[in-house]
Amino acid sequence: MANSYDAMWEKLNLDLDAHSGLLEVLGKFYGDIHASQQGRLRGMEYLDFVLSEVHGLRIKELQEAKAAGRIVVGTFCVFVPEEIVLAAGGIQVGLCAGAEIGNEQAEKVLPRNTCALIKSFVGFKLARLCPYIESCDLIVGETTCDGKKKAYEIFSDYSPVHVMEIPQMKKASDRVLWKSEVLGFKNKVEEMTGKKITAQSLKDAIHLVNGRRLVLQRLNRLRAAVPVPISGRDALLINQISFYDDPVRFTAKIGELCDELAERVKAGEGVVPKGTRRLMLSGCPMAVPNWKLPYVIESSGAVIVGEESCIGTRNTRDLVKETGTTVEEMVEALVDRYMRIDCACFTPNTERLENVVDMARELKVDGVIHYGLSFCQPYAIEAFKVEKALGKAGISMLSIETDYSMEDVEQLKTRVEAFVEMTS
């Protein structure tokens, strides 16, 4: 079946041999980590399908959309306002950077001690293995950390890149900066699409993206039930897929899945045995197919009930106010909403500490696992503050620092199991 896409992949200039190897590994990995779970929801078939076609059907859709004159914008960060792209008739995809791919090529242009996520997106590009990157008319970078900031300079040698400056504080002057960045992005997108964003198109786009956030919020409320009705791995996968599937289809399908979950919750059915410890993840994002730590955790007598992460609540917690009627008012609403993101790139970032503690309490977790990618300084330093804040609330935290390689899985298992024993 995959072969039917060969012509498309060849046109996108992918390295076909290496790419088929990647799909094979990904398929096996998915089978071991996701498809083998017991008691999965019927609604997960949609996700199985989306993932099995991750480089196939969805790419075909993107190519068709491009042929019809739409642009595709790729991003690596939840700060890039998708509403702007959609309002101008474009498509935005969150690019994956969750696999150890093209490391050798990436290390030719990046220092070795660069975080796995950055190495991964540069590696995917240089190894010609990501049909999403190759489908993009524009890659939007941002200045959330020094590593990414400098890596986009390198990336721009290979792809068209637009970098948005993310403020590092939340003062009035920072909001002014952010607003000018949003407007600059709007101009850039309008220029590329040749379409002016109108009050109606922006209103529709805001409503669409809010709708996706709302369905993910609903998912999070449902999975908070005791007993837990869905595994953390599946919930993470849903969040991961929200970044690249069509937003209308995604929202409808996850809505159906939530209906099924609601029935399960009503019937008091869970996916894990009684006594399984409820843990929450907090920290760095886990991009597709980075399922390593969730798999370790859920094979150690625990279940993940929430992700305080960009691929998790940081992306879905806040909605854009829908009261605006003019483009100007709606841009203000967008600026406000995106300024509320509690990324560790901000100083101070006390909102995040409050959000982590509130979330841990609401989810009635037995503990929190803080996940930091090696060499991610903002989250590594904030981990100490998170641990202190949780400690005050009487909640234990385990701090894990790792990357995408498998060499430390045994050590991680020991630490996670010991943490689970400790919270028992």
């Binding site: 620092e401 020991t414 630490r415 010991a418 024993e421 400790m422 028992s424």
Partner: protein, 258 residues
């Protein structure tokens, strides 16, 4: 031989495998074998005659062991839990446990009742563990068993700044090339791993008394440096490398963590 109160604990580590068998009266058997390249074969030798006895496995090989001996009544706990239980049994007053083994260093903070409150473990790299000392003992051509005494014969402590075994070896080599005495270099190597350990202890809080277990606790230089730098006495159990196996057996006896 078959006492219904009999339980066994087996600690399958990277360097050695220890077995402890308890009955209601206390330890009835205590054995140790090197792990080798065939840990299961070594385990098989150790558990001979234990059919029907509850066995609790710990250490890196715990899962493999549990899967490989379906005939035995096996469960598994982590080394963190095993060391906490073992130390609490041998030294009920303990506030903190330090375990330096073959490839891991662990620091465990205990509550008054002996529950694990917090722990730290080194990451994937074996810097600062028994493996580091072993590697360096080979480089200096001193048997690992006497490496600590050898280091204690130093006249001064040379600074070794690298914690990576490979870099530290080249550092040691260049010191030797400059005519530095092997004993002084050995002392510098010990000091390097102890200062790293102290940093881990500080992160966990390390309320005294500290009990030092694991294979490296046999090393008198490591113990002396720890006491010096912490400014407090350090207790070492009689058989420090057996603590994990004892803890595992105790878990089997009590059937729970507490």
């Amino acid at each position: 031989m078959f006492d219904k109160d009999m339980v066994a604990g087996i600690d399958i580590g990277s360097r050695s495998i220890e077995l402890v068998v308890l009955n209601s009266g206390g330890v009835v058997r205590r054995e140790k074998l090197p792990t080798t390249f065939d840990p299961l074969g070594q385990c098989r030798k150790l558990v001979e005659g234990l059919e029907g006895v509850r066995v609790v496995a710990t250490g890196y090989g715990r899962k493999l062991f549990a899967e490989s001996f379906p005939g035995l009544n096996v469960s598994a706990i982590t080394e963190i839990q095993a060391y906490a239980l073992g130390v609490k049994f041998l030294h009920p007053e303990a506030g903190t446990v330090l375990d330096i083994g073959g490839q891991d260093t662990k620091v465990i903070s205990l509550s008054g009742s002996g529950k694990v409150v917090k722990f730290e473990m080194n990451d994937r790299c074996a810097a600062g563990t028994g493996k580091f000392l072993e590697f360096m003992a080979v480089a200096l051509q001193v048997p690992i068993e006497t490496f600590g005494e050898f280091a204690l014969r130093s006249e001064r402590r040379v600074q070794i700044s690298s914690m990576c075994a490979v870099f530290a070896e080249s550092e040691a080599t260049s010191l030797m090339a400059r005519g530095e005495r092997a004993e002084n270099i050995a002392m510098g190597l010990h000091a390097a791993i102890i200062s790293r350990t102290i940093a881990m202890l500080r992160r966990v809080g390390a309320s005294p008394p500290l009990v030092f277990a694991g294979g490296v606790a046999h090393n008198p230089c490591a113990v002396r440096l720890l006491e010096e730098q912490l400014g407090q006495p350090v207790s070492v159990p009689e058989n420090p490398d057996m603590v994990g196996a004892i803890g595992a057996a105790l878990y089997g006896r009590n059937g729970s963590i507490q």
